[in-house]
């Protein structure tokens, strides 16, 4: 319990740091938020009035303190582009991002961990070498490039999958997906909306594949290397000596011991996943937080950009806190302290 409180306090400090950095950037970068809000070519008087409304004419330190106090109250302000509260904008888009990233992380674990185990058990075999080569390639290819190549192949050449978006506009009108969890696949399943499910799945395929390939390599390599180490342990040798089934030795004994480092990597990878999602969402026009953040930055919509960034930072920190708490579940030796 004490560690949880400590970790939460640490999270608050990190968030404050993020707020500070975002504040400084928003005031240093060229382009005035007041101009954006007014649009067109405002007069000097209009500008001055808008700046006063936004508090931009006060000393920077006062602006900073006001801003931190506002964030602390949970008020991220209104988007300058849409005029909507940033919180509402985030709430409307978070489902799309979470659906994409959650499925990606599940797919990565489901594929990466068994592949890593297989690689470790058959060290230096053909499977191991292919897995390692693919892993290196996966790390080396930038996500934007991979995304565009996938679009070229599966949309441009093969015409199997849609180019971008989250659902076909026609399907969205004929068989709209009722927002329950805001995970389209789940919502479509819950309401028995097959047309909606198939369309959502087709639209999800390419962005999901891009993120999965991006992260798979790390998980496969970590799993493999950890497994290779654990397989040298005395209790593995003992298990072989007692004639235990191989699958039980590999998955019950060895994999369990590697779960902590794998969990750590997956927690840290979640950061890559979120930043990867920003690029991937932009390219695939995925209506999530990543694409929203990119447009907010391009258009100097600072409240939206800062709010989204803070939300993503908080999400990342929370995921890593959960990972740390999971350690104790996986390793009984960590429970006593």
């Amino acid at each position: 319990m004490k560690t949880v409180v400590q970790r939460l306090m640490l999270m608050a400090i990190i968030i404050l740091g993020v707020v500070t950095i975002m504040f400084i950037l928003s005031r240093v970068l060229p382009g005035s938020p007041a101009e954006l809000m007014l649009g067109g070519h405002p007069t000097a008087a209009q500008l001055a009035k808008a700046e006063e409304e936004l508090g931009l004419n006060k000393p920077l330190l006062v602006q900073y303190v006001d801003y931190v106090a506002q964030i602390a109250r949970g008020d991220f302000g209104n988007s300058l582009r849409t005029g909507q509260p940033v919180i509402t904008e985030i709430a409307n888009r978070v489902g799309a991002t979470l659906e994409l990233t959650t499925l990606a992380i599940l797919l990565v674990m489901l594929l990466g961990i068994p592949l890593g185990v297989l690689s470790a058990v058959r060290q230096n075999s053909a499977i191991d070498n292919v897995a390692r080569a693919v892993a290196v390639a996966g790390v080396a290819i930038p996500s934007f490039m991979l995304a565009i190549v996938l679009q070229l192949v599966f949309f441009g050449v093969l015409k199997w999958l849609p180019l971008q978006g989250r659902i076909d506009p026609v399907v969205a009108i004929d068989a709209p997906i009722e927002p329950i969890t805001r995970f389209y696949l789940l919502d479509a399943l819950l309401t028995g909306n097959w047309a909606g499910f198939m369309s959502a799945l087709a639209h999800l395929a390419l962005p999901l594949a891009t993120l999965t390939i991006l992260l798979l390599a790390t998980v496969v390599r970590i799993t493999r290397n950890m497994m290779v180490e654990v397989l040298k342990e005395g209790y593995i040798r003992t298990a072989f000596a007692y004639g235990l089934p191989r699958s039980s030795i590999y998955y019950r004994h060895a994999l369990k011991a590697t779960l902590i480092p794998i969990l750590t990597v997956i927690g840290l990878t979640y950061g890559n996943l979120l930043s990867g999602a920003i690029v991937v969402e932009f390219i695939f026009d995925w209506p999530g937080l990543g694409g929203f953040l990119v447009f907010s930055l391009i258009e100097n919509d600072f409240p939206a950009a800062i709010g989204t960034t803070l939300f993503l930072a908080g999400l990342y920190l929370t995921i890593n806190l959960v990972v740390d708490l999971l350690y104790a579940v996986v390793d009984p030796r960590l429970r006593t302290s």
Binding site: Y235, R237, T238, A241, Y242, G243, L244, K256, V330, P332
Partner: protein, 327 residues
């Protein structure tokens, strides 16, 4: 008794490839164990004791040699490599800290080999686990503990319970007390002794500590650089060692009786590298009785009395209190 031997191995050889040439870890080792008997295998680090244990279990492939176990006919020992070890063959490893999975409770640690070797489940399985734990002197309350919540001696008891779960006819004990506090070593040895009386299990007791051998073993084999240099009944070998190496090992055992602190044969230098084994007798570089013959001709293992063998050109006198030191 129709078949007086439980295990017999002959001429086991195993060498490892190293950058400096082949390392002969086992160089023609032969021995046999009778049912209910304990054979002690002693020697310094690097003499090939643990390699032999791994070869017997099939965890390591041997280069050559034959093995017959439990009434079956002799088969090449290399066939055993990387297959499921024989039923009836168990092992307790040296260090319980590493041989017990730290993420499993005692209950599952003991139940696991049972599940693999029998179709026990549910209450019958739990009952068997409790029985096994009681046999090694641990109560039911230890079932839900993790290894890190146990002492070294308790962990080794769990390791023994796991080995017993397979109902072995031959239990290999690879330095079972070396990692334990001196105070609990004797407890574990007594436990092993009483389990043997109860189950009639044979033991292959691997150790470098001769001080414990006469408590538990009937027969002894002394190994040096992958070869047997002396073998026989424990009381015979202890009373009158014939090989200078055995004598040196025995003299290294501390004694509490000041009257027995007479002349010691101590060993100088290190065990020569098994990669470049000296020509002639491997022990010659460290032997105070060596002659030119020793450095030129490798002595063979010769059977002296029935059940007694040694490999030395100048064996120590077999008398009760030989004056061989004046040699």
């Amino acid at each position: 008794m129709t078949n007086p031997t439980l295990l017999s191995v002959s001429d086991v050889r195993k060498s490892f490839a190293t950058p400096r040439g082949p390392l002969k870890a086992l160089d023609g080792v032969s021995f046999s164990i009778k049912p209910g008997e304990t054979l002690a295998l002693v020697g310094e680090s690097g003499s090939g004791k643990s390699t032999l244990a791994l070869v017997l279990l099939g965890l390591l492939g041997a280069d050559s040699g034959m093995l017959a176990f439990d009434g079956r006919s002799a088969a090449p020992i290399a066939d055993r490599a990387h297959r499921r070890p024989d039923r009836g063959l168990g092992i307790v490893f040296q260090n319980p800290h590493s041989s017990l999975n730290p993420r499993m409770k005692v209950r599952s640690l003991v139940a696991e080999p049972l599940k693999a070797s029998s179709d026990l489940h549910g209450n019958a399985l739990t009952d068997r686990v409790v029985t096994l734990l009681e046999q090694v002197g641990l109560g039911r309350q230890y079932m839900e503990r993790y290894p890190h919540e146990l002492s070294g001696g308790q962990m080794q008891r769990v390791a023994i319970a796991r080995a017993l779960a397979l109902e072995p006819k031959l239990l290999i004990l690879d330095e079972p007390t070396a990692a334990l506090d001196v105070s609990v070593r004797m407890q574990i040895l007594k436990l092993l002794k009483s389990l043997q009386e109860h189950h009639g299990t044979s033991y292959l007791y691997i150790t470098h500590d001769l001080g414990t051998v006469d408590h538990i073993a009937d027969q002894i084999i002394v190994m040096y650089l992958g070869r047997i240099v002396e073998s026989g009944r424990v009381q015979d070998v202890f009373a009158a060692p014939r090989h200078p190496y055995t004598r040196a090992l025995l003299d290294a055992v501390p004694t509490l009786d000041p009257r027995n602190r007479g002349v010691f044969v101590t060993l100088d230098g290190e065990v020569p590298s098994p990669v470049d084994r000296p020509s002639g007798c491997s022990f010659a570089p460290r032997c105070r009785w060596k002659t030119r013959r020793c450095t030129e001709i490798d002595p063979a293992l010769e059977v002296a009395d029935p059940g007694r063998a040694f490999a030395c050109h100048h064996p120590l006198a077999s008398g009760p209190d030989g004056n061989e030191l004046d040699h």
